[in-house]
């Protein structure tokens, strides 16, 4: 999807858990090629919104629709660079798909990858295996050839391993390739999780508090990785983050949630100046 095009549209999204309304009529739109931050107080529904986007939660009503270029998806051809901005949009076969009716694995197949608020890695697998799972949607799953190993199964493993290695290089994870992720330090695990999502070569990356629990130094590193991913791989990113400094610095657009409702939307500066946002989220201290 060329930059600047609408990529993801959330309309009238409502999500209820029993008596609790986590999201109420949320409308927002993510443009291709941006880093779009979602902020808001705890319990505002940010993670829930992300979960709706990735198919983990089924909303009570409303929809999330993803637009994608037909050729980009599902054929394992995402190793080519994303369509250049100059490409003629009309010549592309752009389709739209409602994510809200899809199970999570189908959403992933459309090129939406994510990380989780509390690291959800495959603890007993190595860093490489975790990242190879990121390649899952691009691989053919054939039990019989897998059992035989020699031939197609082996060739396929090698081909995908090459792509994973690029991600390993990008995120500087070389030293940890064969380590079971469960034993790694928190910061590294966060990076592996990012890597796993990247390995999927997504067109949209959803990150839920990738810097939570990090100190200043690690945050800087993580911010750098996110920017690199955004710039080098041309991925659009939806980012939940509480640290306003990070949000201000790296995001192009910000949506603010409070009690499940959108209370602000715009450029970081616009949002910072929005009195409702200051009152509900930032507090007087941050506004000064």
């Amino acid at each position: 999807m060329p930059p600047g095009q609408p990529l993801l549209r959330v309309s009238d999204l409502t999500l209820k858990f029993g008596g609790v309304t986590a999201l109420a009529d949320v409308d927002m739109s993510v443009e291709s090629g941006t880093i779009h931050a979602i902020i808001g107080p705890n319990g505002a529904g940010k993670s829930s919104l992300l979960n709706c986007m990735s198919g983990l939660y089924r909303p009570t009503s409303g929809s999330v629709a993803l637009r994608y270029v037909a050729d980009d998806v599902g054929r394992g051809r995402r190793d080519q660079p994303a369509a250049s901005p100059e490409a003629d949009i009309d010549s592309l076969d752009i389709r739209e798909r409602a994510l809200t009716s899809l199970p999570p694995h189908r959403v992933a197949r459309l090129g939406v990858a994510r990380s989780f608020q509390n690291i959800e890695l495959f603890d007993h697998l190595t860093v490489l295996e975790n990242m190879m799972l990121g390649r899952h949607i691009h691989m053919k799953q054939n039990v019989l050839t897998s059992m035989l190993w020699f031939g197609p199964a082996r060739r396929q493993e090698i081909a995908h391993r090459e792509i994973v290695e690029e991600v390993v290089d990008l995120l500087k994870l070389q030293a940890y390739r064969q380590k079971p992720v469960g034993t790694l330090a928190y910061g590294i695990q966060k990076r592996v999780e990012l890597g796993r999502a990247l390995a999927l070569q997504p067109s949209l990356l959803l990150l839920d508090e990738p810097m939570a629990g990090m100190n200043a130094e690690e945050k800087e590193d993580m911010a750098r990785y996110i920017l690199d991913v955004h710039e080098l791989a041309g991925v659009s990113i939806v980012l939940i983050e509480h640290d306003m400094n990070v949000v201000m610095d790296i995001s192009n657009r910000v949506t603010v949630l409070d009690f499940g409702k959108v209370i602000g939307d715009g450029t970081p500066q616009e949002v910072m100046d929005n009195p409702r946002v200051i009152e509900a989220y930032l507090g007087a201290g941050a506004a000064s």
Binding site: P104, V107, E120, F122, L125, E129, L133, M147, W149, A153
Partner: protein
């Protein structure tokens, strides 16, 4: 490695029939345990239904051969496929169940399958057991004198194939998706793993091996009755993978051999010390049972990763010998 291979190959020429029969039983168990480990150890879906699945494989193959006159290899393949299919049916509830709920659902399948095996007169023609004709492969009929040796060769080849194919499976995406489901199913689905498909595939693949083990059991023991497939058998197989090492193909093999030989070992010991402690000899089945339980406990407490881990440590030690570390 080479030494081991030589030992395994000359085994049939040095062991007598009794020990060869044990070896054969262990090889069949190894195939079944590999299957169970795929489901339990690698995919994290607990199954107490192993006994019932073995029964499906065994009776299918026996009936296809004896009543429909199919060649044994064909009926064995038929048994593998049917058992895999039954696995998928039983796996369906697994899609929504977790932990103990799943364990008990598989316990239910064990009970129901066993009930059918006991009560469905068609299976044994009302006799309560089923005779299976001597194995004949491509016109070659095993002879009585070399029965155990010939079976040993057949089973050895099949067990090695089973171990290899299972190992290969976990070098590829399919196997990885099983492990992903085990470690973190939500994340797995967010990475594009179809949980339904992965779990059902795991049930099918696992049961394929179990069906093979069941079919071999039928042809090897030449007689089938429901008592070979009780809940105790399910537990026996779980013990194999616990003792051998969960989530390890080699572990399943070690575990199968160990658990098959355990009662023999207990009996030998009982023969020796029985004079001094008569209760051990007089209550042998109880003692065997108790030792079995104790083995599980001891392994879980002291080496939860099983014989496989112990073996690795030994290899490391010798690898570094004479320098430790």
């Amino acid at each position: 490695m080479a030494v081991l291979a030589v030992i395994v190959i000359i085994l049939p020429f040095i062991l007598d029939d009794y020990w060869l029969a044990l070896a054969n039983t262990a090889l069949i168990a190894a195939i079944g345990a590999i299957g169970l480990n795929i489901l339990v150890g690698y995919t994290g879906q607990i199954s107490l239904g192993q006994g019932g699945f073995l029964a499906v494989g065994a009776f299918t193959s026996a009936i296809l051969t004896d009543r429909l006159g199919m060649p044994a290899p064909v009926s064995i393949i038929g048994a593998v496929m049917l058992t895999a299919a039954i696995g998928v049916i039983v796996g369906l509830p697994a899609l929504r169940l977790k932990g103990l709920y799943l364990a008990i659902a598989t316990l239910a399948s064990q009970m129901v399958i066993l009930f059918i095996v006991r009560r469905w007169e068609f299976l044994t023609e009302g006799q309560g057991f089923l005779d299976v004709a001597r194995l004949e492969v491509f016109g070659f009929r095993l002879d009585r004198a070399n029965f155990e040796q010939q079976w040993y060769m057949i089973l050895l080849v099949l067990a090695i194939l089973a171990a290899l194919t299972a190992t290969n499976l976990f070098r590829t995406g399919v196997g990885r998706s099983f492990m992903a489901v085990r470690d973190q199913d939500i994340a797995a689905s967010a990475m594009g793993v179809n949980l339904t498909r992965a779990k059902l595939t795991a049930f099918a693949v696992s049961n394929g091996y179990v069906g093979l083990a069941g079919a071999l059991m039928a042809h090897y023991t030449e007689i089938l009755s429901w008592e070979k497939f009780t809940l105790d058998v399910s537990i026996l197989y779980l013990a194999m993978i616990i003792v051998g090492g969960m989530g390890s193909v080699a572990g399943a093999v070690y575990g199968a051999v160990f658990i098959t030989l355990l009662p023999v070992l207990v009996r030998e010991v009982a023969d020796v010390v029985g004079g001094a402690v008569p209760i051990i000899r007089d209550q042998l089945p109880a003692v065997e049972h108790g030792v079995f339980g104790l083995t599980i406990i001891v392994f879980l407490i002291f080496e939860p990763r099983g014989l496989n881990r112990i073996w690795e440590r030994i290899k490391d030690w010798f690898g570094y010998w004479p320098f430790r570390y």
